[in-house]
């Protein structure tokens, strides 16, 4: 199944019945698939007039207590940042997928990993975080989509999925995930104040109302809980390794090939693959890298996730970086050349 369609179908499996989107390459399969599937499951598909409108429709549906999703690609995600900040401030759950393409600006429709900062550092204004899933293949994209809805509802927060265009566009055999069956009560939802006090969904409190500092502190507590609960990563041939690669998404697959090639030359290398960009598995990475000669972070960017690797290492061992961005897929040859430059 194609990555984008696997994600769309998995959203439906997770009980998502509302999708608001806007066309942008390379994620057009998602709105196209949703436009066919949603009516078949009595759901709502709506092609919005813009990404800005789409994310605000998501706010409306989420405020009404519904499982709702939108997807886009890098320039469109920039437009959605306003709404993502509001979702965070309003404590509203939603799943936002970014099938990332190259930037800055209009960039290129081809693959890249240069939206890591945007996803993991907040993206919009204000003190907030978005839990960010980073699938490495189509199966994970499907599984993480289901997990993203549960996380969003459990913590009443927008959740992001960032998958580079390669994963969105790639076809792989997968087993579709099963619904988790988790039920989330939403007594805060706007459904009409019948038999209860009115509900208000808001992100504005004007001084001297203590609401804003209270809401912000509550958000930080929530983020601390998510950080404790979510530590998603995968290690590959790390136990005997002298050198450690860190990479995610499609790049991590290329790095696996590199590791095989290096090992055939007698060079013991392994890799650590974060499956979430926030919360980042800092302690786990540090433990994994202990005793290695150096860490080489590889990204289809000019160095974004490497900041988190450096935070995780905290100066323990050297952290190097190799990456390119602008629609180019890294080659094993280039990665090996970069690696050997540090030996």
């Amino acid at each position: 199944m194609k990555g984008n369609e696997a994600m769309a179908e998995s959203a439906i499996i997770a009980g998502c019945r509302y999708y608001f989107g806007y066309p942008i390459t390379p994620q057009n399969d998602v709105p196209e698939y949703m436009s066919r599937r949603m009516p078949a499951v009595d759901g709502v598909f709506l092609q919005a007039e813009s990404e800005v409108a789409a994310i605000n429709m998501v706010i409306g549906a989420s405020a009404a207590g519904k499982r709702v999703m939108t997807s886009s690609s890098s320039p469109g995600i920039s437009l959605k940042q306003e709404g993502i900040s509001y979702l965070a401030g309003m404590n509203l759950p939603a799943v936002v997928a970014n099938i990332t393409r190259a930037g800055p600006g209009l960039g290129d429709v081809t693959t890249a990993q240069s939206d890591y900062f945007q996803a993991t550092r907040g993206g919009g204004h204000g003190d907030y975080r978005t839990p960010t899933f980073m699938p490495g293949n189509v199966q994970e994209l499907a599984d993480m989509t289901v997990a993203a809805f549960d996380l969003a509802d459990a913590y009443r927060t927008p959740v992001m999925i960032i998958a580079d265009a390669t994963i969105g566009q790639m076809m792989e055999p997968i087993t579709l995930p099963k619904p988790t069956g988790k039920v989330f009560e939403k007594p805060w939802a706007l459904t009409g104040a019948k038999g209860r006090a009115k509900n208000i969904v808001r992100s504005l409190w004007l001084y001297p109302d203590p609401g804003l500092p209270q809401n912000n502190e509550q958000l930080q507590k929530k983020y601390a809980q998510i950080e404790r609960e979510y530590r998603m990563y995968e290690e590959y041939k790390t136990s005997d390794a002298d050198y450690l690669f860190v990479a995610y998404g499609t790049t991590a697959r290329i790095v696996r090939e590199v590791i095989g090639m290096l090992r055939s030359e007698g060079i013991k290398a392994g890799s650590f693959r974060p499956k979430m960009g926030w919360p980042y598995p800092y302690e786990e990475l540090r433990a994994c890298a202990k005793g290695k000669k150096f860490v080489l972070t590889v990204e289809m960017s000019y160095g974004q996730m490497v900041d988190d690797v450096r935070i995780g290492m905290n100066g323990d061992i050297p952290v190097h970086f190799y990456g390119k961005a602008g629609g180019v897929i890294l080659t094993t040859k280039d990665i090996i050349t970069a690696f050997k430059g540090y030996i």
Binding site: V58, A61, G83, L190, A193, I200, R202, S203
Partner: protein, 248 residues
């Protein structure tokens, strides 16, 4: 003793923050009375905009969702599509609806979202203290058009006219609240719009000319006179669209 006048049941018993004489307070009351008379309080979800009415959730007793500046019609779309049996009211001002939110406004209207927009047109940005709005009249002085708006700054946008060009809207009307008589007429329009929504008929749009006496730097009485004498000439009152016939 018989009660001859009271606060609508749908309105909270709290002081409004609006300036004395401002039309927002009157329109809130009118909406509250319509909600009461149609018995839809428990079924209504209000969208509060960015602008002077940003705190509307403190004044109405119904469920309320805030919206970012200009996005109220999109938020209302998401709400109504999720809650087709509820009444969704989007309460917006001119900067919100006709400037930053023009795309959301036009497209929600064009899709015929079954919502009611109550549009307060006071020809100025009130909350941010008196800048030029898309509806500011030519010659009108604001803090960002201190010598008066001229045609290089654009012309006042007639939203009722614009929305009337679309196929989907079922009720488009412009009204004012400068006197008891005009306020009562406005109430009839709001009630009709909400009734049409209740019946699932389609998109309804009620524009209300309202004063911003503080930023116009006039007394409330003078500001209402200015609407009657001048604003109304640029924004004529009337029913622009009524697909299901004016209620007698």
């Amino acid at each position: 003793m018989a009660v001859v006048y009271s606060r609508p049941r749908s309105i909270e018993d709290v002081p409004f923050h609006y300036c004395p004489g401002c039309g927002h307070s009157i329109v809130h009351k009118l909406i509250g009375e319509c909600i009461d008379e149609l018995a839809i309080l428990e079924n209504t979800v209000l969208v509060a905009p960015v602008g002077c009415a940003v705190n509307a959730y403190n004044y109405f007793k119904c469920d309320t969702c805030e919206a970012a500046h200009g996005r109220a019609a999109a938020v209302a779309t998401g709400l109504k599509r999720s809650l087709p049996d509820n009444i969704v009211i989007s309460y917006q001002g001119d900067g919100d609806l006709a400037s930053i939110g023009m795309a959301e406004t036009i497209h929600a209207a064009n899709r015929g979202e079954k919502i009611t927009i109550v549009f307060i047109n006071n020809t100025i940005y009130g909350m941010t203290s008196g800048q030029m709005a898309p509806t500011t009249l030519i010659g009108q002085k604001t803090t960002t058009s201190t010598k008066g708006r001229n045609d290089s700054m654009g012309f006042p946008i007639d939203m009722c006219k614009l929305i009337s060009t679309l196929e989907a809207p079922v009720y488009v009307v412009r009204s004012k609240v400068t006197s008891a008589a005009s306020a009562l007429k406005t109430k009839k329009h709001i009630k009709r719009a909400l009734t049409l929504q209740k019946e699932g008929k389609g998109y309804t749009f009620v524009e209300i000319l309202s004063n911003c006496n503080t930023n116009w730097k006039m007394t409330p009485l003078d500001s209402n006179k200015w609407i009657d004498s001048t604003v109304e000439k640029v924004f004529p009152l009337g029913v622009f669209v009524d697909k299901f016939g004016e209620q007698k």
